[in-house]
Amino acid sequence: MTRTATALRAALVAAALAPLAPAARADTLAFDMSGKIYTKYMYQNDNTQGCLSLSNPFWVDNIGGHNGACTEFELNIKANVGPRVTAGVRLQSRWGALWQDWWENGDLKPGVADTSGESLGMNHAAYVKLRGAYIRVAPPIPTVKWVTIGSTDYSMWNEWTIGKARYIDRENGSGVFVEGEVLPRKTLTYTVGAMALPKLWAGPGWQTGLRDNDPLASLYGTDWAFAAKVEGRLGDDLRLRAVGAWLQDWETDRYSPMLTGQPSSDRGADHSVGLSTRFRGLNGTLDAVFTPAALDVIQVSALVAASSNYVSPAYATNLVSSGQGFSPVLFRTDKAGRAVASNGMAAKLLVELFDPWKAGLSLKAEYFNIGSEYNAVMGSRREADVLLTEGMITGGFTRGGQLPTLNIANEFVDWDEPWFESCIGWHGGTLLAEYARGSLKTSLEYTFIGYNTNKQDRDVATQYPDFLYTHGFTDTTAFTADSDYANVYDRGRDPRSVYTRWQDRRTHLAVLNASYAIPAARGASLAGKVKVVDDRDGRKAGTTADDYRGRSLLGFLALTLQPTAELKTTLGYEYTRWDEKNRNGNQSTGFYDSKTYRHTARAGLSYAFGGALLGYTLEWFRKDLQRDAAGGYYDMKWNVWRAKATVEAAW
């Protein structure tokens, strides 16, 4: 009886409302929605927990660690609002919630003994955050093709000016952009943009005015970057591009009368404040690519760049002097001690011959000359590479690259991700021969690096940041093993370190890469690599007792098999040996040798099936760091097992 009455009442209500409700209609042509689930599992034989190998220790951050499983979800919505207007948004859950977290809800209770299990804050709450919101308009204005307002990854500029945001930040940046075409067929195009400066990393002290980071600064809402790009073609052979960027970090003029006393007009107070520059970064590049139609085997690329970075010591704490030499900017002063801009130039020239003899042999030669003070403060921080050379930081399993900035970011990464090093001051050349015939692909590289940063008695106390760890091959494998960014386990040079007090350095580097597709087995291949580095630094002139010499030998071999169309497996081994003379120490205590032996083995698989992708990698490495006990150093040993599994599905 009761159930009948309820059904009848529902039917009556529905009938009454039916004429009032407009018919819903899904405009699927103008509406695109996609989703993705990404799950990661991590294991390591240590006592950390989290889903991120290398986090950042400089603030309250509880997402770094090696044991756990985490899931994130993103929902992309794009709409064609009209023929000339599009819009999009990404809803992305916060990374960091472990499967084990269960009830975490963001209810952080600092200073309280909390037994609720819901106390780790929003980093573990998997909340959904608005990201990547934009609107694009194609207004009927001469030359203007698109106006974009909202989020983007800044990829329209280049690594030397404003670089593409790293993957984890890919749409955190927002701005206003205008793209246009002055001459048809992309003969002359332009892009201009204004971008809100990220308050956390783009400036002195890796921030633009966070009160708790820098007692001299507190204003970040006024800070913007401006950039312009012009691209054109001269005929079919020559492409030209100019990019300019201006980073402007303002602070309130602290002596504005409105802030220092009564708002009396006699004092000059006028209910406004003045602004003073905390940081101003200027970067510009001009690059050209010449591809003669008459000789299609050759391509010549050239780039010149200039930078000027000014820091006001009145509004930016000097981290060279008070931050142990960790600073993404220089604090240059003139002879009178006044703050002046740090200026630098850079240039590179790349000539490429694509199989000119039709024998499978291609040649590349690159000359690079990057000034000792060229610094793209907002250039690419990772996931890009401006030089042809492999550089020093790459290994067998570890990929990487070189970037012209002190603002390189090798954090918020897992142990299987690439590493990047600063190439500020590098001056030299690379010769690269590539041979491909049939199933065989090989390349042989030789690179010589001299250093524009070579100088005696450089002021690393107040002007030039040395990043504390200035010598020794950087061990990226061990870096990610310890979930520790402070390098307390002696893992070599900080990849950002380009200045030392005494430097007279040059480096030789040779790399042989080879891969062979095994004809007998579908998808099977064998890859190998040998890399040799000879790195010398005479340090202080007039004495040889402090000379550094590092010799690196790397051997790598990997076998890839593909038993089925969906399954791919890889088994690899890497051997690294570093023999370093005078690696540790300083001028007053003396220098001491060290030797490093590292064995790394990996087994991995990937499985793609019906839109789902599964990946798993198991790694074991053993490292022996032998140091000179005479200097008070002790030996260290690593015996690390770790694994990473991912599964993702997109629709």
């Binding site: 204004a194 009160r211 003029d253 602290r254 002596y255 009368p257 406004s272």
Partner: protein, 483 residues
């Protein structure tokens, strides 16, 4: 139609240029950095080749250091000398009875600046022999009175400019025959013998003199260096014989006895001193640890935040209104407007110890034991001009103080713990013995009425101290002596 496209283009371009931070450039066009607010002293540096490095400023606590950062006071951040005129820029603040010092080889010249306000200037502070004589006399007399420049009331020192005040009287005496004029003559003769190229560590002439107590007023530390006089065989008395320090000391002693720079007690006003302890871990009136950040935002120490005092004539009844109702007194106390009257923790303006987390402010208020002066007040931690919210000790209610000099030391000195709601808070008082509200005569710590000055225990508002505290960093309020 012809003009529509350019107009549209212009409007869109303007919209694109706006909304992206470019307005900052527009509003900042022509903006030169504002100069640092300063308290400025100017005057003549009367010796040849005067340089900025020869100048300094001191008070009774010593020579001012160069400013370390933009929040510093009691410091020098710029000094220059041009065409014989100097300018010294001090961190903007309230200064009283400071001395400008000019070190010329083996000689030091000094000039007293009785008062210097925030963002203000005082000129004519010449480093010459006349001001040196004034400084010597005042230094000598104050030492004899066992006090120092820091305890001198500037208004008493200046007097009326006609017939009262130490400065007035000394300036007049310099033009008349007598010990003061004679002392000037000796100073001029000695100054002429100074060696501007000397590298002497301490000055040989015009050191700070020290006199013994009355009635003898004997010089115990001479302003002159005997060795220097003997080495140079100086005849500064003009009698044809090289002199020692005695003639100078005798004359200085005679001159010092003529003046009373310390002033005489003010019969109608009293010095009212509030100090508040902002250190972490202080105890409130119930002995519980105070959470000083409880009502503050943000909850960490900020470089641009400081302590402010806000007071007013108390008007709530009960517990009882103030009988002093003069609006001028109300205004002096802050008239209930928060974050306008700064307190000091830099060793100036009555603060006993720089940087100890105890902030101080001093008022000179009318005092008549027969007329009750009752004050409501609070402390706020914020920035200049900030509103109550996020800066006050607690929302609503007030501390209360009746201006009564309980121990008769010519001060009413009150010490509080920031955020303590269990001592002299008028309502919603957290001390159980208060019953939630407080009367003017009620004591809840066995230390006398909570609304009065009390002996205090450092960092602990729950315990009565063993004795009353008399400020050392500032003297009692005085007026110019009339006889």
């Amino acid at each position: 139609m012809v003009t529509r496209k350019p107009i549209l283009l212009g409007l869109v371009a303007l919209a694109a240029a706006g909304g992206c931070g470019l307005e900052n450039f527009l509003s900042n066009v022509g903006h030169a950095r504002y100069p640092r607010p300063a308290s400025v002293v100017r005057g003549a540096a009367t010796w040849t080749g005067a340089r900025a490095g020869q100048l300094s400023v001191s008070d009774s606590r010593g020579v001012f250091e160069p400013c370390k950062d933009f929040t510093d006071t009691r410091c020098v951040f710029a000094t220059k000398v041009e065409n014989g005129q100097y300018e010294i820029r001090l961190g903007s603040g309230k200064y009283s009875m400071i001395e400008v010092r000019g070190r010329v080889g083996d000689m030091e010249l000094r000039a007293i600046v009785p008062t210097l306000g925030e963002e203000s200037e005082v000129g004519g502070v010449d480093l010459d022999t006349a001001n040196m004589v004034e400084a010597l006399i005042v230094e000598a007399r104050l030492s004899s009175d066992a006090t120092n420049l820091g305890n001198v009331t500037p208004s008493a020192y200046l007097g009326d400019g006609v017939s009262t005040g130490t400065r007035t009287l000394i300036r007049q005496a310099l033009g008349q025959a007598g010990p003061t004029r004679d002392l000037l003559t000796l100073v001029e003769r000695l100054a002429a013998r100074a060696d501007p190229l000397s590298g002497a560590t301490d000055p040989f002439l015009f050191r700070t003199p020290v006199l013994g107590p009355p009635p003898g007023y004997a010089v115990t530390t001479s302003a002159l260096d005997l060795g220097w006089l003997q080495r140079n065989q100086i005849d500064y008395t003009g009698d044809g014989v090289a002199d020692g320090v005695a003639p100078f000391d005798t004359l200085l002693s005679q001159a010092a006895q003529l003046y009373r720079p310390a002033g005489c007690p003010d019969p109608s006003h009293i010095r009212l001193v509030f100090s508040v302890d902002f250190n972490d871990g202080c105890l409130d009136g119930t002995g519980n640890r105070v959470d000083r950040w409880k009502w503050l935002s943000p909850k960490t120490v900020q470089a641009d935040h400081r302590m402010y005092f806000v007071g007013w004539l108390y008007t709530n009844d009960p517990p009882g209104v103030s009988e002093v109702t003069d609006p001028a007194v109300n205004a002096v106390l802050g008239a209930g407007v928060p974050n306008t009257i700064p307190m000091y923790d830099d060793g100036t303006n009555g603060d006993e110890t720089a940087g100890d987390g105890i902030w101080t402010v001093v008022f000179d208020v009318p005092y008549d034991p027969a007329v009750k002066l009752r004050v409501g007040y609070k402390y706020t931690w914020g920035t200049l001009g900030h509103i109550w919210t996020g800066t006050e000790e607690w929302p609503g209610n007030a501390r209360i103080l009746e201006v009564v000099d309980v121990n008769g030391d010519a001060f009413v000195y009150r010490r509080d713990v920031f955020g303590d709601e269990a001592t002299n808070k008028d309502r919603a008082n957290q001390h159980p013995a208060s019953g939630g509200s407080l009367t003017w005569e009620e004591g809840i710590h066995g230390c006398g009425p909570e609304s009065r000055e009390q002996p205090f225990t450092l960092h602990d508002a729950s315990r009565c101290g063993t004795s009353f505290f008399t400020p050392q960093a500032i003297g009692p309020l005085t007026v110019a002596c009339t006889q």
